[in-house]
Symmetry: D2
Subunit: 189 residues, 4 copies
Amino acid sequence: MNWSKWSFVAVIILLKFDFVFSQASPTILIAYYSQSGNTKAMAEAVAKGARSLEGISLILKSIQEISQNELLFADAIILGSPVYNANLPPAVMEFINSWPYEGRPLKDKIGAVFVTGGGFSIGEEAVMLSMIRSMLIHGMLIVGGDESEAAFGASAITGEGAFAGQPVDEIFLRKAEGLGRRVGELVLK
Amino acid sequence: MNWSKWSFVAVIILLKFDFVFSQASPTILIAYYSQSGNTKAMAEAVAKGARSLEGISLILKSIQEISQNELLFADAIILGSPVYNANLPPAVMEFINSWPYEGRPLKDKIGAVFVTGGGFSIGEEAVMLSMIRSMLIHGMLIVGGDESEAAFGASAITGEGAFAGQPVDEIFLRKAEGLGRRVGELVLK
Amino acid sequence: MNWSKWSFVAVIILLKFDFVFSQASPTILIAYYSQSGNTKAMAEAVAKGARSLEGISLILKSIQEISQNELLFADAIILGSPVYNANLPPAVMEFINSWPYEGRPLKDKIGAVFVTGGGFSIGEEAVMLSMIRSMLIHGMLIVGGDESEAAFGASAITGEGAFAGQPVDEIFLRKAEGLGRRVGELVLK
Amino acid sequence: MNWSKWSFVAVIILLKFDFVFSQASPTILIAYYSQSGNTKAMAEAVAKGARSLEGISLILKSIQEISQNELLFADAIILGSPVYNANLPPAVMEFINSWPYEGRPLKDKIGAVFVTGGGFSIGEEAVMLSMIRSMLIHGMLIVGGDESEAAFGASAITGEGAFAGQPVDEIFLRKAEGLGRRVGELVLK
């Protein structure tokens, strides 16, 4: 084997290494706040969607348990919240306000959201857009679900009509799964 | 009959006249834009709610048929629209942009809204708030439905899950009725 | 003086009494949350506007000092907040979430809002509409400022361009005054 | 030169070619609607920002002149609009409604927005979020400006206070430039 052959192999190795290194284990952080369990159920469906793809590290945690390092390390943050009086609960706003801002370390990370609300159109969109606005303040790239019915993120109605007193409906869990899968596809790119 | 008696009678007559004049027939204008018939169905339910009260004049018309005088004369305007790409259709924006602005003649009129959208949380809130914002530009007083599940106005989901391919569901028509009744109660005050 | 004269006088007295009773001291509650003093300055301008009218009782307080009775007794609530990450601060959301809901005792009260934000279009509208949405959940009647430049309420930019490092600019304080005056005119009706 | 040397050269050439091909001329479409010239001025500043980077193809056009192929071919779409009654003008909504939807061909394209409005907080945020919502319906990835003061996109106030009757202020043009540069950096990735 002469010099040129060695160089050739070296290039291939370096290319592979670069490929492996940059593609290995992109991380998705799924952060949720749940009192009744509904938002947690949506979070688990988001996780299921992301897990359907190979090669993704997943952190699924309540917002109270998340460290600053987990935020900084994640390639994508998917944040889920219930609706309180057509707005974000204080605990979720406190979580968002705790995100590191100096130097804008969350810039260019992928951001996505999901929400559970008691009734039809009583704040689900508003809360999704509230979280999206805060993510844009941090310079994140926003992505919605994988169908236009989940355009702003995955939403669920849990307390009105046929949905009252039931576990989160399959129609909404599917949107959450689609959201997880879509974010997964993006971090793998 | 002496002077004081005549004065007394005159005062009573004037008071009655004033009462009759000011209270008689407050007018509600229900303006809708409907392609599929769903928003029209909601408009008719709003009208039904308002008609459940006595002493209200009601105008129920498509936005294309409404004259400027009808806008000016109304004590309340209830505007209904479908959702197009998570926003108001151009025709509804054109209607709003045609409202008289000079001297702000719509100021202090009551404003309320209703909406129909294809899927859950894909623009119903956004479109209700779009119409509310324009009404606030004109100085109108905004009121929602008569229950917190219709807080921003009456909304209907017409194209997803169990609601797809069906006439507008009773749960949403009831909200529209409640909205009409609530606006009716306010204009009668 | 004969019977008719006495009756006449009695009617006048009753009318006056009714006038005095129903008009006496409608109450406006101005509730604000302020860390830097900017939102407090806006609150004081709102109060100045309301005080320019006679016959209004005014309560001007930080949200931490407001009792439930003050909320229940007020004819109008004007709520002011800064912008945190394009959303309401947790403390303001906690205040809103503490409002009495059972029986909807805030229904039909007048609601209006004001806001201070660091930069141009980085959440001022969003925060005004956040507060408006919560007020609509409670069934309140929403009113904006007295000019279309304060359509959703009174807003101030306090940290960007020529406005950075200055007291709240007169252009914004005038909007706050106009808002107070407009709400005052409505509660006097 | 032996076989391995030729292979090595071939690999290098292919890598270069691939690099050139995939990186060459990502295209940004800047689409604006302007009546007074203000939104056009912002569009030109967005273009200036994008042109500050090498290797980007730029299309800068009024929405009336844009073909469907230009939409389909673009890697990023930056849409600019004035504020009409706190909402999008009908012409911009018509443009958005004309975007190809079948098969969601705009999915994964980068989307960003800019806006000009007459007064402080009378619809700039609302119109930026209106455009963002429609882009999310199409599955686009949303990005804001390059500083948190342009979080939702680049906005300009053109008709109130010191900004009235003036060309678009430098403070706003800088945000537009930053937006163009930021989108440019992303399409070059």
